[in-house]
């Protein structure tokens, strides 16, 4: 452990997964392309300056208005996007596509470890709370050899439960003293819970004056941020947010997508703020398994597509820029004549963050993404 470093000096990475295939074309909107408006008569977002229009980013792309809470980060140069990014695997199955992105090996069904778990192995500082995931189920991305701490989501996440009573845990300690998977998980659970509860308890008392955190994603994001701000042992964080499978009534400035983005935008802003000084050394990566069709369907929604946008937020991010080669939206430029093409492999984006931000060297990188060599260098940091 590098105990000499100040707690805010530790480099941290937080990954947020938007499950359901979020519509990147209505998140970072190519408003300068006439084809965008032709293909989306109902759900397109208006140009900047118009009523309910997008928030201009660079004269070509604009941000969905529900993401207004993130504009200050863009203006400060802390927020970047990589457009037309994604997996080279053409699967339009949510579950296959998520699996590939989480194990980090598109097309491979056999490997079961997630890339974040392999990353832990590479950068390990060997603490029981090196990685924290929000929720009581295990996301594939953190599956593997290295122990991962998790924290229940929701308002009651840091309320005391029976196992917190010393008499109760003492009894269960006798039951779970072995080396089997269950005992190990139990043991990790005890250590992690004690550490996280102590952190949360102090933090909540100090910072909130008793006011409860908001419910849902915003509250969970804030809780994770406070934990990471408080405890330098936590280097990696993960959260998933569902509800992006918008086949129907996706909406434009209002509707399902806008609601989801509203909550995500507020959550990210709260996360950044709650990290405090640690934000300077944090990268927040937002991704989804695939994008959606360029054309809207007959129900004001979109179907499963291919290329998408990745978001990178953090204190040292070279933001204020939309990265990636933009393939265009003319029919001939689309993937299978229907979707935004993928011009940047998602592993190129992550590799750059790992290398520049977490100082992961090439050998370690080849363990995180086996049999993969980054095809392009994107200098995000």
């Amino acid at each position: 452990m590098h105990s000499a470093t100040k707690k805010s000096d530790r480099q941290r990475l937080i990954v947020i997964f938007m499950r359901g295939g979020a519509d990147g074309l209505n998140i970072v909107v190519p408003y300068a392309e006439p084809a965008y408006y032709q293909a989306r008569p109902k759900i397109a977002l208006a140009k900047p300056g118009q009523e309910k229009g997008v928030l201009d980013l660079d004269g070509h792309f604009g941000l969905h208005p529900a993401l207004a809470p993130l504009m200050p980060f863009w203006q400060q140069g802390n927020l970047a996007f990589v457009h037309a990014a994604g997996s080279p695997d053409p699967s339009r199955s949510h579950f296959d596509a998520q699996f590939y992105m989480e194990i980090g090996i598109p097309g491979n069904q056999k490997v079961s470890e997630g890339w974040m778990n392999r990353l832990m192995g590479a950068i390990s500082n060997k603490t029981p709370i090196q990685a924290v995931s929000v929720g009581t189920t295990k996301p594939r991305i953190l599956n593997g050899q290295m122990p991962v701490a998790n924290l229940a989501s929701g308002r009651n996440a840091n309320k005391p439960i029976a196992i917190d009573r010393p008499q109760v845990s003492a009894a269960f300690n006798r039951l779970y003293g072995g080396n089997d998977a269950l005992s190990q998980t139990y043991h990790q659970g005890r250590i992690a819970r004690e550490a996280l509860m102590a952190d949360l308890d102090q933090e909540m008392k100090m910072a909130n004056n008793g006011a409860p955190l908001p419910d849902g994603f915003v509250g969970d994001a804030q809780r994770l941020g406070k934990l990471m701000a408080k405890d330098p042992r936590i280097e990696l964080g993960f959260m998933a947010l569902g509800g992006w499978d918008t086949h129907v009534n996706q909406g434009s400035d209002r509707g399902y997508l806008a609601r989801g983005l509203g909550s995500l935008g507020k959550g990210l802003a709260a996360l950044a703020q709650s990290l405090g000084p640690a934000y300077q050394n944090t990268v927040i990566l937002v991704m989804s398994e695939f994008g959606r069709t360029l054309r809207e369907n007959g129900n004001g929604g979109t179907d499963h597509g291919h290329g998408n946008v990745m978001w990178i937020l953090g204190g040292k991010v070279r933001g204020g820029k939309v990265y990636g080669e933009w393939p265009g939206l003319e029919t001939a430029q689309l993937y299978e004549k229907r979707d935004l093409a993928v011009t940047t492999d998602f592993r190129d984006v992550i590799s750059d963050v790992l290398a520049r931000h977490l100082s992961v060297n090439d050998t370690q990188l080849s363990k995180v993404f086996p049999s993969y060599t980054p095809k392009q260098k994107i200098a995000l940091l």
């Binding site: 991962v148 998790n150 029976a162 086949h247 369907n297």
Partner: protein, 496 residues
């Protein structure tokens, strides 16, 4: 709870015997009996092992495969009959929620409450049946098939219909023919809403296909039938979506059969022939969808996909290929007869291979229900159970994604999840969970029903004295008020 005289004697024996382990009075039970109970039911309740011992494993399986031959506890029947909305079909639900013309704000509020009641009663019914029904395999299969054909209650009107969906589309066919199950789910308004097929409409202009919604068509093939590697293409997804255009829900002026609000509207159906999985489907309205379901139900890929999932649920997270192949063959030979496939499964050498005994890690639902069953408590308040399931991220009807909840260890075995399971076990074992509390329980009554820990010896006997020596000694070394909690929180009890 009352302590039966037999256990009093046992307790006395333990007290007198001093340091003797508390389980010593009874011999361990045949592991085969424990295995069959663990897999065909949500776990042993008091007396269950003795029952299976007396009828024999084969007859137990046979009876469970014919649930109608098994009588239900009168208390369960009574409790279910008190649920006003449980057996409403979707037409009746629509009427139940119909606002009177010019409804007052009070009337509207009351109506909203009625709406909430439908979902609450459905959740309660599922938990009551899972914990108390004698037709346990039926309940286990409802759990399996509901997940397989998952509908999320949080999507639009689905909250009013998920209960009816279980009663009408899942439950009656849980041990029946796969094609019937597939058809019932395809027609049900809950599924039509959840996977957007009710909005899958062809344009009125001939030849146009732009109003097609692919959502149901894709998940129908990927999840419900062929499987992701089932050999279909994007073109098949589009063709199947076109085949299902016009399937939807009756508007106010549209006639239905009185049992379901399902409605096929030919005006929104794509009137062209379609090529689906290499076959030409002649334009024939609703019949095209039925033909597509026939093709999917008969496909060898479907037989394999369903067999894999059954083997994974009943045998192992990584089921042996030999078993999957045998089940798939039986599936094909019997035209998707689920009972027959299960019969093959329960007779297979793989099912009886000792290495799979107690090898499946319980899902939160299985864990919660099995713990309550083991106590023998007659539950009438299911709220503490549904709360626990929410905390463990497995609420009833609450899976957002169409693939349903997983049943494998890699998803559910997590540090904080174990903390929460053990806390639930502690609350239940120490008698603090108000499962038999009712709404009209006055504080006075509560003081009479003092918190009393459950009887650990009784629990151990109920579970067939199957705890390891290590677990036994940990229990023996713990204070009396925690012994029952330790049984329910033991490593052995985390698995089935």
């Amino acid at each position: 709870m009352t302590v039966k005289p037999r256990y009093l004697v046992l307790l006395l024996f333990i007290l007198l015997a001093g340091s003797d382990p508390i389980y010593a009075a009874n011999k361990p039970v045949d592991p085969k009996i424990l295995h069959v109970i663990n897999r065909l039911s949500f776990g042993a309740k008091p007396g269950e092992i003795q029952k299976v011992e007396s009828v024999g494993v084969e007859r137990y399986i046979k009876a469970q495969l014919s649930p109608n031959s098994i009588s239900e506890p009168p208390s369960l029947t009574r409790q279910l009959s008190q649920l006003e909305t449980l057996n409403l079909n979707t037409v009746e639900i629509r009427n139940y929620l119909k606002a009177p013309p010019q409804a007052t704000p009070e009337e509207k509020k009351a109506l909203q409450k009625r709406g909430g009641k439908i979902l609450q009663e459905a959740v309660k019914a599922r938990l009551l049946r899972a914990t108390s029904s004698n037709r346990q395999l039926q309940e286990v299969m409802v759990d399996f098939w509901y997940n397989h054909f998952n509908v999320y209650s949080g999507k639009g009107n689905a909250r009013y219909w998920v209960g009816a969906y279980e009663q009408e589309a899942i439950r009656p066919y849980a041990l029946g023919r796969f094609r019937d199950l597939l058809g019932a789910t395809a027609h049900h308004p809950a599924m039509l809403v959840y996977l957007d097929n009710s909005q899958n409409k062809a344009s009125r202009r001939p030849g146009a296909t732009s109003r097609v919604n692919e959502n149901y068509a894709r998940e129908l093939m990927e999840l419900h039938t062929l499987g992701a590697d089932g050999g279909y293409t994007q073109q098949d997804v589009i063709a199947l979506a076109r085949i299902f255009t016009g399937w939807g829900i009756a508007g106010s002026g549209q006639q239905t059969n009185g049992k379901s609000v399902f409605y096929f509207d030919p005006r929104f159906h794509d009137p062209n022939d379609k090529v689906f999985l290499g076959r030409t489907i002649k334009a024939s309205g609703q019949a095209e969808g039925e033909q597509a379901l026939d093709i999917l139900a008969k496909s060898p890929a479907t037989a394999h996909h369903i067999s894999y999932q059954l083997a994974q649920y009943f045998v192992s997270d990584r089921p042996p290929a030999s078993l999957v192949d045998r089940l798939a063959q039986r599936f094909r030979n019997t035209d998707g007869n689920i009972r027959a496939v299960l019969e093959t499964l329960f007779q297979s050498p793989e099912f009886w291979d000792k290495k799979y005994f107690n090898a499946k890690f319980k899902t939160p639902f299985q864990y919660t229900v099995s713990a309550v069953r083991a106590t023998g408590l007659e539950v009438n308040n299911t709220i503490p159970l549904s709360r626990n399931l929410e905390q463990l991220e497995m609420p009833v009807y609450g899976c957002r994604t169409p693939d349903g909840y997983k049943n494998t260890q890699d998803v559910w075995l997590n540090p904080e999840a174990i903390n929460r399971r053990l806390s639930f076990a502690t609350a239940l074992g120490s008698g603090r969970l108000p499962l038999i509390g009712t709404a009209n329980n006055s504080p006075k009554n509560k003081s009479i029903n003092r918190v009393q820990p459950l009887d650990a010896t009784q629990l151990i006997n109920t579970l067939g004295n199957s705890l390891s020596p290590k677990t036994q000694s940990a229990i023996a070394a713990s204070p009396p008020e925690l012994k029952a909690a330790l049984v329910l929180g033991s490593p052995e009890f985390m698995r089935r």
